[in-house]
């Protein structure tokens, strides 16, 4: 099986703070990978390097065989951490914007997702609850025909129902189009049943990675593996 991402000896620090430390890891293509680790483990930094928002100081990274470049972001749907959307937009306006600006945006699919997520096209982004905002962001990322989807903490601070709806649309998305999806998250309990593959990071380094079913066979549930690693 080929890899969507090949990361070799990648290092990045912000002043004295080390975000990625000689990280060597790869992410399988066509699978959904959970990127797990405590705060400051380097998860967000790694995703930012993939879309070129952060330049590593050392090492290299290949995304489908190419180093990151804004051109290749046409094939990547990225949900930034602690993302916000333009406050003055209505959902309809956001969708219209996405339709011209984001390559591969799938309007019918977006409208369907808006319906299942129970969002109103006329409501303004600034008036949405946190869960509704998160749902909108996930729609903007999943309603796209792209090769790679990166979701940075899509579930943080949102209510149970929105979380379940997002998980549902992730499952739909996986069935509708073969994509490589990487999700960084703390909510392991709710999401671990979705993953094909997991990567555990700590202090910018790889701690453990593997196929989820194999890890379950060997060590039990991902949540308890996480506890064991980071306690």
């Amino acid at each position: 099986m080929s890899n969507a991402l090949e990361i070799k000896y990648l290092s990045k620090s912000y002043g004295p703070k080390i975000a990625l430390d000689d990280l060597y890891v790869s992410f399988p293509e066509g699978q959904i990978t959970g990127l797990l680790g405590p705060n400051g483990a380097g998860k967000s930094t790694l995703l930012k390097v993939i879309v070129g928002l952060v330049k590593p100081q050392a090492g290299n990274i290949l995304v489908f065989g190419q180093p990151p470049h804004w051109k290749f972001n046409a094939e990547i749907a990225y949900l930034p951490d602690r993302a916000k959307w333009y406050k003055v937009h209505t959902i309809e306006r956001a969708i219209n914007y996405a339709l011209t600006i984001l390559p591969g945006f799938d309007l019918p699919r977006a409208l369907e997702m808006i319906k299942t997520m129970d969002l109103d096209l006329d409501s303004r982004v600034s008036a949405l609850s946190k869960g509704q905002q998160a749902s909108l962001y996930v729609i903007l990322c999943l309603a796209r025909k792209v090769k790679l989807v990166l979701l940075d903490e899509p579930f943080t601070g949102i209510d149970l129902l929105s979380r379940e709806r997002i998980i549902q649309s992730l499952i739909d998305s996986m069935l509708d189009q073969p994509q490589t999806i990487i999700i960084s998250t703390h909510e392991i309990h709710e999401t671990e049943s979705l993953f094909d593959h997991v990567v555990f990071l700590n202090r910018g380094q790889l701690v453990l990675e593997g196929n989820v079913e194999a890890l379950r066979q060997e060590k039990g549930c991902i949540e308890s593996i996480y506890r064991g690693l980071f306690r």
Binding site: I32, L175, E192, F195, E213
Partner: protein, 129 residues
């Protein structure tokens, strides 16, 4: 562990064991125990994945395995159905029974109980309660 009812099937997922095996085993058992009538339609991959909140690839793998054992048959455009062939079901039933016997034997061995004792224990057990 919570019980999740999907169509005619009942599932209990345990995240500390491979999910693929659990889906496979639970459908197999449901068929062998005649919990579901023969010829019943299986839930679609989407439905089962959604209800169990698991990766659809896991469901697909389990379905492929069932198909390979001829426990299910896929009819084009209609979905996947449990076989109506009684012989196949019987075979699966026997296979599951021998698996259970193996488990029984190994636990007897661990207790240091020999075959005649085990057999006599079996004879004493009340089948109908």
């Amino acid at each position: 562990m919570e019980n999740i009812q999907v169509g005619d099937f009942n599932f209990q997922m345990d995240l500390s064991k491979p999910l693929y095996e659990q889906v496979l085993q639970q459908i197999r058992h449901a068929i062998a125990r005649s919990d579901v009538p023969l010829g019943t339609k299986l839930p679609s991959v989407r439905e089962l994945a959604q209800q169990l909140k698991i990766n659809p690839n896991t469901v697909m793998r389990a379905y492929q395995e069932l198909d390979r054992d001829h426990l299910t048959e896929t009819r084009r455009g209609q979905g996947t159905f449990i076989t109506s062939d009684l012989d196949t079901v019987k075979q699966v039933k026997m296979a599951l029974a021998s698996e259970a016997v193996l488990v029984f034997v190994s636990s007897m061995k661990k207790l240091g109980i020999d075959r005649p004792t085990a057999e006599s224990l079996l004879k004493e057990v009340a089948w109908h309660e």
